[in-house]
């Protein structure tokens, strides 16, 4: 990351005595800064140079969701400047100045929409005040055009650059007091703005975590046990230390004791860190390692064992009830028809294109980090704990990453880099190999789900019972493996029960894009399709009917595997919005008049998560070898009143669908605790030749805008497997596809 010093001029120099400095030294800023996010100031986010160039700070980390565009666009709109005159700069980590610096849970749109616009409007108000004072005219007579304050009565105007010094000396108005634009006047919001880093990307400029270079930097690679949390008993360390270019060989004890429930952020896994002059040399030295591992209790785990235990638990009475209303067992008994099915989905890995890694430098008792974390403040907490240092002795640069998809919400790689840095006398860049990245991922946990549904003589749904067999200590599910009380279709069937049982898991799990929902949606929407066929009803029609008969109130807020980082806003399902996207996608895809022929079929599914609604229709063909081709996808989304950056939003919608296709073919399996997958040949991603035509449509509603990194993904999985059923009559209840006899063409 290169920090552009030029852009911090008058405003920053005059506001609060040293704002420019604060960007390089968060500790100093922390002492001077407001203490709560509600005290966000325009000075923190907006810097206006005397030549009128406007620099806007992007507070959230960027890993491809367009946060460096979206949040600054909100500020620029209300500040009233031309987007072409804006330079976006990544903020350093300093939550006391910037508020929450978190990219996850599709939360930046709902959490940033109002405050960021108010920050921009407050900046505009300060410029107006500065102009009014300069001209000795009433503020109310002044208006703005992009980049200028105008006093029409006297014909005077001044550029923002001319006014910046005076404006910066003014007290910032209360954010709640400023007036926001009428959306019909938007010039930036709702108009596609290309990615602020796109030029750097297409010309190969250093930009990503892996590109960070510091003078005298060394490179680190870590050999870990093939089994989670296995410890080093002994190794040929002396031999490795003598290899060319190897500078340090360090044993990481780690602090993880395998237990039935692995915490969200368990810390470093044990291993042997090799630090060398280049990363390749560190890797070569790794190959010479001979390690005797104490594999520990996790070596007893296997996918086969998990499945056997899940089947056993499914037969037994559930151990806990998440949500229950009506008498589901009685309703099933009196139903005209009962449909029963068991669904199973596997563990999968994140496989970000950029493997995990970080750069750290320990010098004079202070730690400087270059972090790709999407939850960087938690990274500071973990590092401080791991190293036994004060958080105030740590500074964090937020560097663009080559994808997160939830992986970088956890900070284990950052703790490792920092731990190594503290033990050597040079800056160090840690990089995981692809194999490290897959074997030591924070996996999306698998599950086995027993489903029972009842239909009356007219084909109406009478009861819905699911028994979700997941992993955990019996009280708490593993990260990414819990189920929420209001998970769809809770509240709609007349009798409903969601039970869970758990088995222990000694493995790191985490949040994968649309955590929880990326798999439950597949189960629920597949089973709903089963009920439709059993009832002889159209899958769209039965769902619209279900949504029209809400039986019970929501019991709590939205579930979110990221726990306390829930987005704000309307967190309960609004049936009309769910129906709205279904109706829109049906119209666009020609659902009602779809042709039915052997080997070709269309499937429909919808979901609500992370405050967004998406419905998707898939058109597939299946050949004689059960090879599946996805020809076309129609997606309809409702994320509120405003699509902030339409071109990026469409791309995000298409990307979610491509990722969902990938999930259908991926699995992580364990034998004697060892992950069997290692690279893209056995944990595949979709390729260009498999890419369908994808159309994304928006249904704009009166609700406040919400995010769409996540909600685009879940419906595509059941839309595809429902389409495979329509094409072949075969119901896919076990993922990945190949475990059900299918595969991508």
């Amino acid at each position: 990351m290169k920090i552009n010093r030029r852009s911090f001029l008058q405003m920053s120099a005059l506001a609060g005595g040293g704002f420019a400095l604060s960007l390089h030294c968060p500790r100093l800023a922390a002492a001077q800064a407001p203490t709560t996010p509600s005290d966000l100031t325009p000075q923190a986010f907006i810097h206006i140079a005397s030549d009128g160039v406007v620099t806007i700070m992007a507070r959230a980390s960027e890993s491809g969701q367009g946060m460096r565009n979206m949040l600054p666009m909100l500020i620029a709109e209300e500040l009233d400047v031309e987007w072409k005159d804006v330079r976006v700069q990544q903020a350093e980590l300093n939550e006391k100045v910037y508020g929450r610096q978190f990219s996850g849970g599709s939360a930046n749109t709902p959490q940033g929409w109002e405050p960021m616009r108010r920050v921009g409007a407050a900046g505009r108000q300060m410029l107006i005040t500065a102009a009014a004072q300069t001209w000795a005219v009433p503020e109310a007579e002044c208006t703005t055009q992009p980049g200028r304050v105008i006093h029409a009565a006297s014909g005077r105007s001044a550029g923002y650059g001319e006014l910046a010094a005076r404006a910066a000396a003014l007290p910032a108005p209360a954010l709640s007091s400023v007036k926001l634009k009428d959306p019909k006047d938007y010039r930036i919001i709702g108009h596609s703005q290309p990615g602020v880093d796109t030029h750097a990307i297409v010309t190969g400029k250093p930009l990503f975590g892996i590109d960070v270079e510091l003078p005298g930097m060394l490179y680190a690679s870590i050999e870990k046990a093939p089994v989670f949390a296995g410890k080093v008993k002994s190794a040929n360390l002396e031999q490795i230390r003598k290899l060319p270019s190897v500078r340090h060989v360090l044993i990481i004890d780690g602090g993880i004791t395998p237990a039935a429930l692995t915490p969200w952020e368990p810390g470093m896994e044990p291993g042997i860190a090799i630090v060398a002059d280049t990363w390749w040399q560190a890797q070569q030295a790794r190959k010479q390692l001979k390690v005797d591992w104490d594999l520990g209790p996790a070596a007893t785990q296997s996918t086969e064992g998990f499945t056997a235990k899940a089947v056993e638990l499914l037969k037994a009475a559930p151990t806990s009830t998440v949500r229950k209303y009506g008498d589901v067992d009685a309703a099933l008994k009196t139903s005209a028809k009962v449909v029963e099915a068991t669904y199973q989905f596997p563990f999968i890995a994140h496989v970000t294109m950029e493997p995990q890694g970080a750069t750290a430098h320990w010098k004079d008792g202070k730690l400087e980090m270059w972090s790709t974390s999407t939850l960087p403040a938690d990274g500071v907490g973990l590092v401080a704990k791991t190293l036994g240092i004060q958080q105030s002795d740590i500074s964090t640069h937020m560097v663009r990453s080559g994808g997160s998809f939830g992986r970088r919400l956890q900070n284990d790689y950052l703790a490792e880099a920092a731990w190594i840095a503290k033990r050597i006398d040079a800056p160090v860049k840690l990089l995981w190999s692809r194999e490290d990245d897959i074997v030591h991922d924070a996996f999306r946990p698998g599950a086995t789900v027993g489903m029972k549904g009842g239909l009356d003589a007219q084909g109406k749904i009478t009861a819905w019972r699911h028994h979700f067999v997941t992993f955990g200590d019996g009280k708490q599910a593993t990260s990414g493996g819990g189920m929420g009380q209001d998970s769809y279709p809770a509240g709609f069937p007349p009798a409903y029960a969601l039970y869970t049982s758990m088995q222990p898991l000694m493995l790191r799990t985490g949040a994968l894009r649309a955590p929880g929902d990326n798999a439950y949606c597949w189960v629920a929407q597949s089973f709903l399709d089963e009920l439709a066929h059993a009832a002889g009803r159209d899958p769209l029609e039965i769902q619209l009917d279900l949504l029209s008969n809400k039986q019970m109130p929501w019991s709590s807020g939205d579930h979110d595997a990221v726990g306390d980082h829930e987005p704000t806003g309307p967190s309960v399902l609004i049936p009309d919005r769910f129906k709205g996207v279904l109706e829109l996608v049906a119209e666009k895809s020609g659902w009602a008049t779809r042709t039915k022929q052997p080997g070709r079929g269309m499937g429909i599914a919808a979901w609500f998560c992370h405050l967004g609604y998406f419905a998707e229709v898939a058109d597939v063909s299946v050949d004689a070898q059960n090879k599946v081709t996805l020809h076309r996808v129609w997606a309809a989304g409702d994320v509120g009143s405003q699509i902030i950056n339409p071109n990026a939003a469409e791309s995000m919608g298409q990307g979610g669908i491509m990722e969902g296709m990938g999930h259908l073919a991926q699995e992580i399996t364990l034998v004697s605790g060892k992950v069997q997958q290692s690279n893209f040949q056995n944990h595949p991603l979709m390729r260009m030749r498999q890419t369908p035509k994808i159309e994304v449509y928006w249904r704009k509603t009166d609700y406040s805008p919400t995010g769409l990194g996540e909600p685009t993904l879940p419906p595509i999985l059941p839309a595809i497997t429902n389409a495979i059923f329509a094409a072949t009559g075969k119901r896919i209840r076990t993922l990945p596809l190949q475990r059900s006899g299918f595969s991508w063409a």
């Binding site: 297409v202 010309t203 990503f208 970000t352 493997p355 190999s433 298409q654 893209f680 991603l685």
Partner: protein, 157 residues
């Protein structure tokens, strides 16, 4: 031992063992970090460079095997960042995370070098060795088509 390379029309002498993959020489010795590491086994294409006009996975190419063949990386694709592919990539705002895109562009450059007006099927064949985890394939395909059109309108380079 010292190995002579010609990278982006600049002669370079590197002191590495000949089996070192070109990717790590580019990144950690020559500080050309545009070419990316992702799989290390030639399965994802993030490290793609041009060697003698052909798309090559630099993570699998021993630096000692290159002889005096010219190497072009994303940094040297055009002097001004205005190769038709770069222009099209920006115009369509192809990247999401962006990590794979240098490799995508280099594979596309090799395709257009030999097939100036590719069909969608030819694009799919040429580009299916390059993975994009974000799923920007639709835009990549459009950008290649757009570059093929504008490239044709531009006099030979």
């Amino acid at each position: 031992m010292s190995i002579q390379l010609k990278v982006n029309n600049v002669a370079a002498s590197v002191d590495v063992s000949p089996e070192t993959p070109l990717l790590w020489v580019l990144r950690d010795v020559l500080h050309l970090t545009g070419s990316k590491y992702s799989c290390g086994i030639g399965m994802c294409g993030a490290c793609t460079v041009l060697i003698g006009g052909h798309a090559v996975r630099s993570c699998m190419t021993p630096v000692g095997s290159l002889g005096n063949q010219p190497i072009t990386t994303i940094e040297g694709l055009s002097p001004d960042g205005l190769h038709p592919l770069q222009v099209a990539w920006e115009a369509l705002d192809v990247p999401q995370c962006g990590y794979c895109q240098a490799g995508q562009i280099m594979s596309a450059a090799a395709l257009l070098e030999h097939t100036p007006h590719p069909t969608d099927a030819e694009i799919d064949t040429a580009m299916s060795g390059n993975l994009c985890r974000c799923g920007t394939y639709t835009r990549i395909r459009q950008a290649i088509q757009q570059a093929a059109q504008t490239g044709a309108a531009t006099p030979a380079k």
